[in-house]
């Protein structure tokens, strides 16, 4: 018997999903109590590797072919039912909205324990201990639907922690979190590590894991390209990191000016805007100004009102007070509906037609074929003109949503978390598109928690609610300036 020192073991593992090779010949051993970070560009196979450990592959994901063996805590994953694997492996996914089952947070923490038929007294003890260990007293006995995304993600983690699995598998748990929630997530991971648990985490945002990861596995095109110790990883140069397509290893502070003063003669002016949701004030007395070509970052904690502000700017929500003025003319809600375009975080929500061309036509029925082709060409989409939008890749869909807004003659574009879950290369591409659009005379608003992106893409920012307090490793300004591509 191997004993427990080899907690996770991949032996010659190759994976094909829908006849597409995702992983090739993976050999990896994770020791008991080790904290391993999986990194690499989007599509390199990080998520697939985590799914092999929690049993989603081969038990849950369809059309999948796996060669080789994966053992976890001496259990052969392919041979064990999911509920057996769940006793050893706790999983936290990317989307906090779809990871809870109960409306009451304390009952949610006990969800996994209910499933294994734990005694009620033990459950009560475990729930209380989880709340105290993870210092989440503010989350106890709350309605889950009233929680912010960050709180929901911490709750998902707490629910897994209560089951006390030996192994934690996390798939981009920080993708939708603000800096404060990421700081809390880091603290929880520290507690888990101190408790001697094994952690396997796939992430793009690397800075919050500094000092936690014992070993870093860099994947490229479905293969393990390189292993790093924590010290080796911290020592890699900026140019090397960029070549590897990785996000910053250090956390970044906002390095662009905050727009706090109304600029005279600005094209767009928002005066004393107040917005309510369910009769509760969310935005109070906000004023801002913007000029053609501005890219303005909108930052703030989860639940601070960034989405409310955007919905109100677009005219989707009524304003309780204040006005929006463009070139000395007050814009009604209807006018704002017409002039503001949004590129949503999940672009699938806004693609309605059966082809890329028709998507552009639906935005502007009078557009000529030539106009559509020119536009699609400028966003590298001409080859896909007859394809169904939902068959495009994530990046192509995002670009199509931009084309749609341009076709619709929008003057202002709002981007909601455009770099959520993106690697460095894709983040730089999004930055390029935004700059191109600004040069063409659009006014852009970008809602983001991603300061690395904010510093590169935006020329100023506005803060909604109280500022975030990052708890990650701070970057040196020289590192940052060197990494601007």
């Amino acid at each position: 018997m191997d004993g427990v020192s080899d907690m996770i073991k991949f032996q010659n593992v190759s994976v094909e999903i829908k006849c597409k090779k995702i992983l090739s010949n993976i050999n990896l051993t994770v020791n008991d109590g080790e904290f391993v970070l999986l990194c690499g560009e989007s599509g390199c196979g990080k998520t697939t590797l985590t799914r092999l450990v929690n049993g989603m592959i081969p038990h849950f994901v369809k059309d999948v072919k796996v060669d080789g063996t994966v053992t976890v805590n001496n259990i052969d994953i392919a041979e064990s039912p999911m509920y057996k694997i769940a006793e050893s492996v706790g999983s936290v996914f990317q989307n906090p909205k779809t990871q809870f089952f109960n409306t009451d947070s304390s009952a949610e923490i006990a969800f996994g324990l209910e499933n294994i038929g734990a005694d009620r007294d033990y459950m009560c003890k475990r729930v209380a201990q989880t709340i105290s260990d993870l210092e989440i007293e503010n989350l106890a006995d709350r309605n889950v639907f009233s929680m912010s995304g960050g709180e929901k993600q911490l709750l998902a983690f707490a629910s897994v922690y209560a089951m006390n699995p030996q192994i934690y598998v996390l798939d981009e748990p920080s993708a939708n979190l603000d800096h404060e929630a990421i700081g809390k997530l880091r603290k929880i991971l520290e507690t888990v590590k101190k408790g001697g648990h094994t952690v396997l985490i796939a992430e793009h945002r690397l800075s919050f894991l500094y000092g936690l990861a014992d070993r870093i596995v860099y994947l490229k095109d479905g293969c393990i390209e390189k292993y790093f110790t924590a010290a080796e990883f911290a020592a890699i140069s900026e140019s090397e990191r960029i070549a590897m397509g990785l996000r910053s290893i250090c956390s970044e502070e906002i390095d662009i000016p905050e727009r706090v003063i109304m600029q005279p003669d600005s094209s767009l002016a928002v005066h004393h805007l107040s917005v309510k949701r369910k009769k509760q004030p969310v935005i109070h007395d906000l004023s801002l100004s913007a000029n053609v070509g501005d890219i303005i970052g909108i930052v703030g904690k989860n639940g601070s009102g960034k989405s409310t502000l955007c919905s109100s700017l677009c005219g989707l929500l009524p304003t309780a007070d204040g006005e929006v003025i463009f070139r000395s003319r007050k814009l009604s809600r209807r006018a704002r509906n017409k002039q503001f375009g949004v590129v949503m975080q999940d672009v699938n929500h806004q693609l309605f037609s059966d082809s890329v061309k028709n998507e552009c036509l639906s935005a502007n029925p009078n557009a000529t074929d030539q106009e559509i082709e020119d536009l699609l060409n400028s966003f590298d989409l001409l080859d896909c003109i007859d394809r169904h939008p939902l068959t495009l890749s994530g990046g192509q869909r995002q670009r199509l949503a931009i084309c749609q807004a341009i076709m619709g003659k929008k003057k202002f574009l709002i981007f909601d978390e455009p770099t959520s879950g993106l690697d460095f290369r894709h983040m730089c591409r999004v930055t390029e598109w935004l700059k191109q659009l600004a040069q063409k005379g659009y006014i852009l608003f970008v809602v983001t928690h991603d300061y690395e992106f904010l510093n590169r893409a935006c020329n100023c920012y506005i803060q909604i609610g109280k500022p975030d307090e990052p708890t990650e490793r701070k970057s040196r300004s020289s590192e940052r300036s060197a990494s601007i591509s």
């Binding site: 999911m82 769940a86 089952f101 209910e114």
Partner: protein, 226 residues
């Protein structure tokens, strides 16, 4: 000092829903239906569901007035369709109100605990609980799709047709994610499940059940006597 009434026990809620169904099937006259609806409106009032009370009451009054004063004056074509629809809605009103009373008082975890206490098959409980969890999740997504359709100036007449694909996609993705999160937390475990929520049926719940049973029985019985 006023004492706050604790939420209705889900088992009591299910009993009231059963009474509403029995009442609906046994009623012979409109006044019986109104009497049962009034009972559930009073119960909703007791459990502080004020919005449901006034909306339900308004609907009943408007529908009764329409049936009594407006439809008799309307052309035959209107009388062929609408009174039937309204009559059926009114007939179902006690059940609708009892359903609201149950849903507003019993959280999902309480309902699951009740189903486990009633020894219902695990497969059935899992299916019901994931379905109940699914609707609030997709509601949020549908809101985003509606907003996107509005910003693209898609006419109302075309909105249903154009939003159906993103709605289906979002529904499929959401159900996949919820199912994945449930499965990795051992929902398929065949062992006997336990409940964190402790159900306590209070003396007040018993009193409510008893009064409602007597009231329903008397209402039904009077219909047969007349």
């Amino acid at each position: 000092m006023t004492r706050r009434i604790s939420a209705l026990d889900p088992r009591a809620g299910i009993w009231l829903l059963l009474l509403a169904n029995i009442g609906m099937f046994c009623e012979k006259y409109a006044w019986q239906n109104t009497a049962l609806s009034v009972m559930f409106l009073l119960l909703l009032l007791l459990y502080r569901q004020y919005s449901a009370v006034w909306k339900g009451a308004l609907l009943i009054v408007v529908f009764r007035l329409l049936l009594k004063f407006v439809f008799p004056l309307c052309p035959h074509i209107i009388n062929m369709v609408f009174p039937v629809l309204i009559n059926y809605t009114l007939r179902m009103m006690p059940c609708i109100l009892a359903g609201i009373l149950l849903v507003r008082n019993a959280s999902m975890q309480k309902m699951i605990a009740v189903m486990r206490a009633l020894h219902l098959p695990q497969g059935f409980i899992t299916a019901i609980s994931t379905t109940l969890r699914y609707f609030p999740a997709v509601k949020d997504e549908f809101g985003h799709i509606r907003a996107a359709a509005k910003l693209q100036n898609i006419p109302l007449s075309e909105r249903l047709e154009s939003t159906i694909v993103p709605i289906m996609m979002s529904a499929v993705n959401t159900s996949d994610e919820i199912a994945a999160a449930a499965v990795v937390r051992g929902i398929e475990n065949p062992c006997k499940k336990t409940s964190y929520i402790r159900l306590r049926i209070t003396a007040f719940d018993w009193l409510i059940m008893a009064l409602a049973t007597v009231y329903t029985a008397v209402t039904v019985w009077m219909g047969y006597r007349i």
